[in-house]
Symmetry: D2
Subunit: 424 residues, 4 copies
C-alpha cells in the first residue's frame, strides 16, 4: 500500500499552522537548529524485515492480520514507513527468511520505494527443513566440523545474496553458547568460532564489513560464546579491519553502562553498528525509547561526540538499525514510534552545548555537566524532527496520518487476516 | 515403554556392593539417617506433562524424537520415571493440552503406573483455535468482561476435569500484565483479576486448593499483574482459606532471596506449592540444582524447618512439582536429574543439626551457623537417596539404567522421530 | 546564610523577559497549566538533615567545607534552599544526630525560615558511644530482648522529641537482617520485629503515623528483615491504621517496577511516603531524576492518578522527602537539582491527558497510551515550575542565583573548611 | 599470639581416628587423591592485611576487639592463621596503611612466621592527611595532570616498598569513574588512565607484574573507568607483557558468568590473579564460598583446566588472594572459613574426571557433562583438605583449634578492646 501525495499534503496543511508556532519557539531555544535539521534529514534508520509482523514469545503469538508474507510485501511496508517519515530508507534482510531468486525484481521494487539494503543477517540459530546438520548445539562454535562448515557456507551464501542486492555488510548474531555448566569448553568454543568467522571473513568483498553482535543470554542460559562487548572486540580485533562490533541495546546484563561501551568501541575504531530497541529485563525487544528515553539520549550523546572526534560521517560510517519485536502493537505503528524516538534522541544529542560540557568536565563541575545534558534532554525538539520530515516531503505526524489513512484495515483486506510474517 | 523388573534387579545387583560401602559410610556420618530414609521414601514430586517433550525458546526448538503425542504416552513416560526413581508418583496436567474425553481410561492408565494427579494447570496465555475472545491483552485482568468470562469459564472447566481425575488443586499462572508504560491501569488490572479469581474460587470443591503463581516478567516486559510474592499473597488473602501462593524458583528479579520468601509464606500459612527448576538469568527453566545447588538446599532448609514448626506433613501439605523445559537434554534424563537434585537437597536439609543451629542463632554465632549449614550441604548424601530408591524397588542409578535400557531409542522406534509433544 | 530579598528580585528581573516567552509558549501547549501552577505552589518536599553535608561511601569521603555542624546550621541551610525554590518547607530530622535540648529555640529558628518538621528518623543501625547494647546483630529483630528494648526505647524517645517539635510521623528504616545463610531464623526475626514495632506503635500519639521503610539489601548482604514492599505491607497491616509503607526509590532489586508497587500500595491505603533519589546499581543515593527521569515521571503518574482516585490531598496525605547522599556535588546544589527534578516530574504527571488515557486503556490502544504519556513527558514544563517559584517569591533559577551569590564561599568562611556534618 | 606445637599435636590426636576413617573413604572414592594431596599442600593463598580487622559499611562498623594496630600485629595474625591451616603463607599489603620504615625488621618477622609478600596494593581512592591533591574526582584518570602525577608517584613508591620486602607484583584497584551522566568524557578518562598506567608500568622491575583490577560499580555509581574484564584486558594489552587482569569475584554485574571470563583471560594469557570472596548483590565481600559454593567450584574447574592446558604452575603463575571484609564474624575465623572453602573448591576441581568430560563435551552429551561436574562437587573432599594440613604440620580442624585456644580472648587482653585496625 502506498499513500497518495495529496494525502500527505493535506495532512501537513492541517497541522502546519500549529507546527510553525512550535518550530519558531524551538529555533529560538536551540542555537544550532539549522545544522540539526540538516543532520536529521540525512539520518536514515534500517528497518529489519522481521519486525513487520507481530512478534511473539515462547508462550505464544497474537497475530494482527495484514502482515507481509514475502519480501515484496515487506518492502512495500517499509516503503510506506519511509513515505511517512522519510527516515527509513534502508531494509535489513534475514536469510533464509528473505531469500529471493529474482534479485533484479527485488532491487527494482526497493528502488521504487527509495530503499537500499542495509546489513544482511544470517540465521544459524534455527534448523531449516532438510538441512543436513542441526544447530541444536551451536553453529560456528560446534564441536563437529561438519556443522561449522554448514554454518560457514550459509554465511557466505548470505554475503553472495547481499552482494547481488547491493548490501555492504553482514551481521552475525550467534545464538551459540551453552545451557548447563560443563557443556562447553569455553576456550574451544571461542577458537572454533574464531576459525569459522575467519573463513567467513575471507569471503567478504573488499568494501564489505562484518558485524559481530554480542548478547549476554538467551536462547542459551548459562554461557554465550559472543557474550559481551569484550568478547566481540576480541573477535573483531583478531579478524581484521573489516570486522566490527555491533551493539544491540537489549543484549546486556542488568545495569550495564551501554553508553560507556559505545564510547570505548568508538575509541578503538571498532564500533560497527546498532540495533535499537528498549527493554526492562532482558532482550525484551520493545519500542526504542519506550522505557528509558534518557539512556537512549546518553547513548546518542556519546555517539555524536565520539564520531565527531574521529571525523566520522554520522550517516554512513555506522549501521543504524532497529531490532524490535512487537507483541501488542501494530508493527508498523511501533516502527514509527521507534524511529521517532531515535530521531528525537539524535536531535537532543546534537543540541548539547559541547563547548560548555568540555569546560565543565575540565573543571569537575559535575552539577553543571548534569545541567547541560538535562537541558538538552528536556528541551522539546519534536518540532525539529517534524520539520525535517516536512522538508523531505513526509508527514508532520506519521502516526496520525497512518491511522487516518486506515492502513492496517487496507492491509488486512489485501493480505487477509491470518497471514503470518516469516521470521520470529 | 516399561522396564521389566529383572532389568531393575540386575542393575541394582551390579551396583549393590559399592552402594553398601557408601551407605555404610554415610550412615556413620549422619545421625538421623533412618528418619531421612523414611522421609525420602515418602516424598513424591509431580512431573509436569509439558516437560516430557523438548522445550524451546522464541528462537527455535530442536526436537529429539520419541516425544509423547498424547496424554496416554505422557503417563507412560512418567510411569517409566517413577519405575526408575520411585519419586515421581504424580502428574501435573495442562489444559487444554491434556484434555481427555475418556477419563476412566486415563485414570486406569495412571493407576497402573502408580500415578496420581497433582495440581491442574489452566492456560489463558495462548489463544486456542476457534476461541471467540483473544488473550492478547490479558485474560483474568482484561478490560473486557467477555474475555474475563471466557478465562473464568476455562478455569472452571479445568477444575471440572480435575475433579473427575481425582486432582485436588488448581494452579493459575497468569501471563497477564503489560509490555509498555501506560498500557494498563495497575489497580484496575488488579481488581479485575481479583474479581475473576473470586469467581473461580467460588467454583472450587470444598477439599480443593487454588495456587496463585507469581512471576516477575515474561511474556510481559513492563508489568505483570501477579508479579511477586507480595501481590500473590494479597490475592490469596483476599480470596480465602483455600487460596495459596505458589513459588516457581525462576520467577524472581535478580538476586531475590527466595528462601526468605518461603519462610514468610509458611509463617503466614499461605505457601501452597513449588515449581522446581534452576536459572541464571530469568525463567530459564533449567534442571533443578544445575546452577545453584546451595540455594536449593537453603530453600529446603527453610521448608523443613518451617513445616516442622507448623506441624505440617512434608509429603501432603505442599504441592511439589517440577516446571522445567529442556532444550539440549533428553527430557526424561533431565527430569531424572531434577528429581535427584531435589531429593539430595531435601536429604541435606533433613540432616541439618537443628538444635545446634537454634543455639548458634540464639548466640549470634554466625560462624557456627554457617558451619552447621555447610556441613549438612557438603556431606555426600547421595547414598541415602539411592538407598531410599532401592527400598522402594527402584533403581540405584536411574540415569544409568535409563541409558543401559536404551529407552530413547525404543521411544523413537515406537513414536517416530518427528513427533512433537503438545505444550511449549 | 540568608539571601537579601533584593538579590532574588534582581535575579528574577534579569531572567524575566525570557521566562515570560517560555511561559507563554508552555501555557499554549498545556491545557491545565493554571491548575498545575497552583499544585506546584502547594507542593513541598522535605529535606533530610543528613543530606546537607558531603556523603561518603565505605571507601572514603571528600568533604567540601562549609558544612553545617549542628541542627541550627542545618535549618539555616534548608531555609536558604526554601528561599531559593519555595518548595522545601520541611525538614526531616535524624535522631540522635539532630537531638536538641532547646526545643523552643529550634522551633523558633525553623519558624523564621518558614520550615516545619516532617517525619522524624530513628537510628538503630549504628552504636552510639556509651550505649549499653550493640546493634551489631540487629535492633528490633534482635534475639536478645534487652537489645530490642533499647531500640524500642530509642524510637519512643524519637517520637517524644518529634511531638515537641510538631512533627507528625516517625520513619523507621531498619538495617536489620543477616549477612550469611543460617545466621537468622527469618520467621523469628520477623516476629521479634513485629512485636518491637507494636510497642513503638502503642506509643504513637493519635494524630501520628509510622512509616515502615523497606530495603532489599545493604548493609546486610544476605537478608533484610523489612526487605521489600510485601514485607513492609505485612507489618503495616498487622500494626494498624497508623502504620504505612514508605518507598525509597533506591531500595529495590534490579529492574523492579516501582510505579506498580506505588499503585498497589495506594490501592491498599497503605502508602505513607517517599524517599526520592536516583540510582543505577543499588542504593546509590544520587540526585533525583539524574539517571532515570522517565521512571520518576511514571511514578508520579501513578501517584497523581491513584491519589486523585482516592480523593487524597497531594500535599498533605503523603510524606514527600528526599533521601540522597552527595559525594561529588555541593550538597546544596544537589538538593536544588533534586527538588527541581521532582517538581518537573510532578508537573508532567499533572499534565497527562487522563481522560484520553483512560479511553486508550479501555480500548487496549497501547500505541496511543504510550503517545499520551510520552507527550506529557517530552513537553518542556520547566517554565511552569519556574513560574510557580516566581509567584511564591523565590528564584526563577535557584541554582544560578545560588552560584551568583557565592553561597558556598560564604559558608566556608563562616564555618570553616574542615567541618563535618553530623550524619553519614 | 602463636600456638605451641603441642596444642596442635594434641588437637590432631584427638581428631585423628575419625579423620583416618573419613580419609580412607574418600581415597577409595577419588582416584587421584595422592596428586590432589600434593597440590593442596603446595597451594597458598594470600591474606590481605586489611581483612584482619572488622570491616564496615557506610552505615557503621562494629568492632570486635583485639584487632591488629600495626603491620607487626597483622603479620602475627596471619602467622597464626598459617600455623593453623598451612595454606596462608602470603600477605598482601596495602600502602600507606602498611607502610613501614623498618623493612629488615618486618622481613624478619614475616620470615619467622614462614610468610612471604604477595602483591602490593596502592591506594588512590582516599585522601591521606597532608596530601596536596585530592582524589575526589579520580586519580589516574583525573583531568588535572598534577593529581595524576601524585597518584603515579604513589604507585611507584608502593613498588619501591614492595621491592624492599621481596614482593613481585603490584595490584592497582582504581575507584576512578563517575557518579553522574556527563561528569566524564569516557574516552579521555580511559586515555588519561592508560598514560598514567604506562608511567607506572615503566617503573616496574623486570621480574614484576602489575594487575589491573576491574569493578563494575562502587564507589562510583554511574561509570567506572576500569569497569569490566573487557576494559581491563584493553589496558593490559596496551601496557605490555608484565600487565595482567585481576578478577575479584564481587566486582561484576548481576548474573555475570565469571568462569567464562576466567577461561577467556587464560586463553589470552592475561589472567594475573584473583581476589576471592562471595556476594549476593554487589561487592558484598562475604566469606568465600558462603553464598555460591558451586560457582566457586566452577571457577576452579576453569582455572585447573586452563592452567594445565597452558602448562602453568598452579601455585606460582597466578596470584591467589582473599579480599573480604567481615562485619559480623571474627575476622580470623572468617579467613579460616574462606581458605577452607577455596581449598575445597580447588580439591573438587582437581578431582574432575577430565578425560570423561572432554569426551562428553565432544559428544554434546550435556547430561553426562553435568553428572561429571556435579559428581566432583558432591563428593565430600574435606578429609583430603584436612589431610593436607596434617601433613604440613597444621591443624585437622583449624576453626576448632582456634576456638579451643581462645585466641580472640587472648588478643583482646593483649591489644585491648577498642583498637581499630588500619584499613577499611
Amino acid at each position: 500500500m502506498k499513500l497518495e501525495q495529496h494525502q500527505i499534503t493535506s495532512h501537513n496543511e492541517r497541522l502546519f499552522s500549529r507546527h510553525q508556532q512550535q518550530l519558531a519557539y524551538v529555533t529560538t531555544e536551540i542555537q544550532n537548529s539549522a545544522l540539526i535539521l540538516q543532520k536529521l534529514t540525512d539520518f536514515q534508520i534500517g528497518i529489519p524485515s522481521w519486525a513487520l509482523g507481530t512478534g511473539g514469545t515462547r508462550f505464544g503469538r497474537f497475530s494482527l492480520g495484514g502482515e507481509p508474507g514475502n519480501i515484496e510485501e515487506k518492502l512495500e511496508d517499509i516503503g510506506l514507513l519511509h513515505q511517512l517519515n522519510a527516515s527509513s530508507a534502508a531494509v535489513s534482510l534475514h536469510i533464509p527468511w528473505d531469500s529471493t531468486s529474482n534479485v533484479p525484481a527485488i532491487k527494482a521494487i526497493a528502488s521504487q520505494y527509495g530503499l537500499n539494503f542495509d546489513a544482511m543477517n544470517s540465521n544459524t540459530f534455527q534448523d531449516q527443513p532438510d538441512q543436513p546438520q542441526s544447530y541444536k548445539f551451536g553453529s560456528l562454535q560446534h564441536v563437529d566440523k561438519a556443522v561449522r562448515q554448514q554454518a560457514i557456507a550459509h554465511n557466505i551464501e548470505v554475503i553472495r545474496q547481499g552482494v547481488e542486492l547491493g548490501s555492504k555488510a553482514l551481521t552475525i548474531w550467534l545464538a551459540d553458547g551453552s545451557c548447563f555448566p560443563g557443556q562447553l569448553n569455553f576456550r574451544k568454543a571461542f577458537q572454533n568460532t574464531l576459525e569459522s568467522l575467519q573463513e567467513i571473513y575471507a569471503a567478504l568483498p573488499a568494501d564489505w564489513k562484518v558485524f559481530v553482535e554480542y548478547k549476554a543470554f538467551e536462547p542459551n542460559f548459562y554461557s554465550t560464546t559472543v557474550g559481551d562487548w569484550g568478547q566481540s572486540l576480541l573477535y573483531a580485533n583478531k579478524l581484521g579491519p573489516k570486522a566490527f562490533t555491533l551493539v544491540d541495546l537489549g543484549h546486556h546484563l542488568p545495569n550495564a553502562n551501554i553508553e560507556q561501551i559505545v564510547s570505548l568501541l568508538l575509541m578503538e575504531g571498532k564500533l560497527g553498528g546498532f540495533h535499537f530497541n528498549d527493554s526492562k529485563y532482558g532482550d525484551d525487544d520493545l519500542t526504542a525509547g519506550c522505557m528509558k528515553p534518557y539512556q537512549l539520549f546518553l547513548i546518542f550523546n556519546e555517539l555524536v561526540e565520539g564520531m565527531d572526534q574521529r571525523g566520522m560521517n554520522h550517516t554512513k560510517d555506522l549501521a543504524w538499525m532497529i531490532d524490535a519485536s512487537h507483541n501488542v502493537k501494530d508493527p508498523l505503528e511501533d516502527l514509527l514510534q521507534s524511529v521517532e524516538a531515535i530521531m528525537i534522541a539524535y536531535a537532543q544529542a546534537l543540541s548539547v552545548d559541547r563547548a560548555a560540557l568540555v569546560q565543565a568536565q575540565a573543571e569537575n563541575d559535575v552539577v553543571r555537566c548534569q545541567e547541560i545534558l538535562q537541558h538538552a534532554f528536556r528541551t522539546d525538539v519534536r518540532p525539529l524532527v517534524a520539520e525535517a520530515r516536512l522538508r523531505a516531503g513526509a508527514a508532520l505526524s506519521p502516526l496520525t496520518l497512518y491511522r487516518e489513512s486506515q492502513v492496517r484495515k487496507e492491509l488486512i483486506r489485501n493480505r487477509g487476516n491470518k497471514t503470518i510474517a516469516t521470521g520470529l
